[in-house]
Amino acid sequence: MNAIKKHRVLPGFGLSLGTSLFYLGLIVLLPLSALIFRSSALGWQGLWEILGSERVLRSYRLTLGTSFAAAGVNAVFGFIIAWFLVRVKFPGKKIVDSLIDLPFALPTAVSGIALTAIYSRNGWLGAPLEALGIKVAFTPVGITFAMILVGLPFVVRTVQPALEELETELEEAALSLGAGRWKTFCRVIFPMVLPSLMTGFAMAFARALGEYGSVVFIAGNMPMKTEIASLLIITKLEQYDYAGATAIAIGMLAISFLLLLLINGLQSWSSRRLKGI
């Protein structure tokens, strides 16, 4: 510690390290440990019983499935939008650009109500879709739609800088070597943007996992069918079953943590490959 400190050129190493650790401990680790403390009353047996129940398992599956689908859709369209914003010059670009951030700022309950109004059986889009036999409101499809909305900016905002950094020389090199536009995209551009796309995907996925406000209105919240994990937690809390609620939360956290760890691992592997470290 002392040795590291001595050779630092930039001042404030000790101060910034201390602040970072203290802040992380206070803001992140303390509430998490309270969660574990709360649920520890149940013991392993009780925890296992709650996590193993049909209703909880189904809600996990629904939450993970819809989050994954939403993040996947966002990865595709977020990439296209980011590409559009970086490469195409058009009037009003600034406005479109700031439109992307709106889901960040929108209170989730508001977006939930708005989505329900559009996709419910007699809504603007809900009615024609219903005529086609696609039910959106009160189905996993609706849940996915809500998650897509809140997750989009994450993908766009992570991919955008990566695309901006991409030298046009690389594309020109590929073109001069005889690659067409499509092959240039698949073999040169996409692999180079992939790490940031994966980061964006992970962030959108994480956001969707924890989403509550915008989902509950459109989900219909039918147990075993359209009940997401965060809703189940609220339900437990309303029944004063704090230990049960925290148990579900811990299960959710563990799964999310493992998945995010995996995605981040893949992401850092692919970016290491790019940088060749």
Binding site: E169, L170, A173, A174, G178, A179
Partner: protein, 355 residues
């Protein structure tokens, strides 16, 4: 393959980067496009490659072996392009970078895996990097990266090799090594090559022909010897090496005779003398034009001795001497000497004056 540009202009947002250029690049020659930055040399190269499209009006032509390729896309012109900053694909190793041009061919034209492998290693041996085939670009030095870029460009069997300041990002020692190596390579492969540079030494050393560009126009074209010894105008002379400039008045009546006494602000011509074209006299020579000067600084480190002097008007003069000459004269700082030019060029309004 011979390349000919006819009446080519290029404008970027109202800025005329190239102004009705007419030029021919001979088959099998290594041509240097030499000029200061912003002179349009890179634009010219990119136009040949097809990375830029010339102004449609007035319509110009770019002829490859007599065939107009203006509307032909870059990938179909069969040009090998080497970028200043290598533009290697970072996520591919050396082998894959070189193989890229073959792998992206249409299935019907694509060589087999075995052929690709053979060709890649043949090229890597050519650039002396066959042992590094599985390295990533980031694990290579700048010089090695540029050689990979060159091998990659050669993999598509181009008819023309275009190099955009290929050694500009490298340090001086690697740069000189690589340009000799490029010259050797060109001697062996003998295809039409054009390279852009702002380094006159580089152009003079390796090019068969030099094209000097300035402000979107071509100032002079010729062999290195021609452009160095017979610069067409003041710009070319100044650009091709260090030069001392004196303002002078030309007496038209006396058939262009110039007197150094009349130099000063009231000038209508410039008199240019290269630093190595001065003769130093310790005593005032009896006749002819001479400049009285005081030695300010002597630098002997290097292949030649560089001497800074100042004349009576306190104007700096640079003189180059060989070490032998310098030793024979025993010059010292503060010493007063007299200079006579062995050779000089006179340009009025930038243009050459008849002798």
């Amino acid at each position: 393959m011979s390349i000919k540009l006819e009446n080519i202009s290029k404008t970027f947002n109202g800025f005329k980067a190239l102004d009705s250029i007419n030029i021919e690049f001979a088959d099998g020659k290594l041509t240097a496009l030499l000029g200061p930055s912003g002179s349009g040399k890179t634009t010219l190269l990119r136009l040949v490659a097809g990375l830029e499209i010339p102004d449609p009006d007035p319509a110009g032509r770019i002829l490859f072996n007599g065939k107009d390729v203006v509307n032909e896309q870059v990938g179909r012109r069969r040009v090998g392009f080497v970028f200043q900053h290598y533009a290697l694909f970072r996520h591919m190793n050396v082998f894959e970078n070189v193989a890229f041009g073959m792998r992206v061919k249409k299935r019907s034209e694509r060589p087999s895996q075995e052929e690709i492998r053979e060709r890649v290693f043949e090229l890597l041996r050519l650039v002396q990097l066959d042992s590094m085939y599985n390295r990533l670009p980031s694990q290579l030095s700048g010089g090695q990266r540029q050689r990979v870029a060159l091998a990659r460009a050669l993999a598509i069997r181009p008819e023309v090799l275009l190099l955009d300041e290929p050694f500009g990002a490298l340090d001086a020692k690697v740069r000189t090594e690589l340009r000799r190596w490029l010259r050797d390579l060109h001697e062996r492969l003998h295809f039409t090559s054009i390279f852009v540079t702002h380094d006159q030494e580089e152009a003079l050393e390796i090019a068969d022909r030099i094209v000097l560009t300035n402000q979107g126009r071509i100032e002079q074209t010729g062999t290195p010897e021609e452009v160095f010894h017979n610069p067409a105008n003041e710009f070319v002379m100044r650009f091709l090496g260090e030069v001392n400039v004196f303002h002078a008045r030309v007496d038209e009546n006396a058939a262009g005779q110039v007197s150094l006494k009349e130099r000063g602000e009231l000038s209508d011509a410039n008199l240019l003398i290269r630093p190595h074209d001065f003769q130093i006299h310790l005593e005032n020579p009896p006749k002819g034009s001479r400049i009285a000067a005081v030695i300010q600084k002597i630098r002997t480190a290097g292949p030649i001795v560089r001497i800074d002097m100042s004349d009576e008007e306190n104007k700096a003069i640079l003189v180059h001497l060989s070490h032998e000459e310098f030793r024979a004269m025993s010059l010292a700082c503060g010493q007063r000497v007299f200079l006579t030019p062995r050779q000089l060029k006179i340009y009025a309004n930038g243009k050459k004056k008849p002798k």
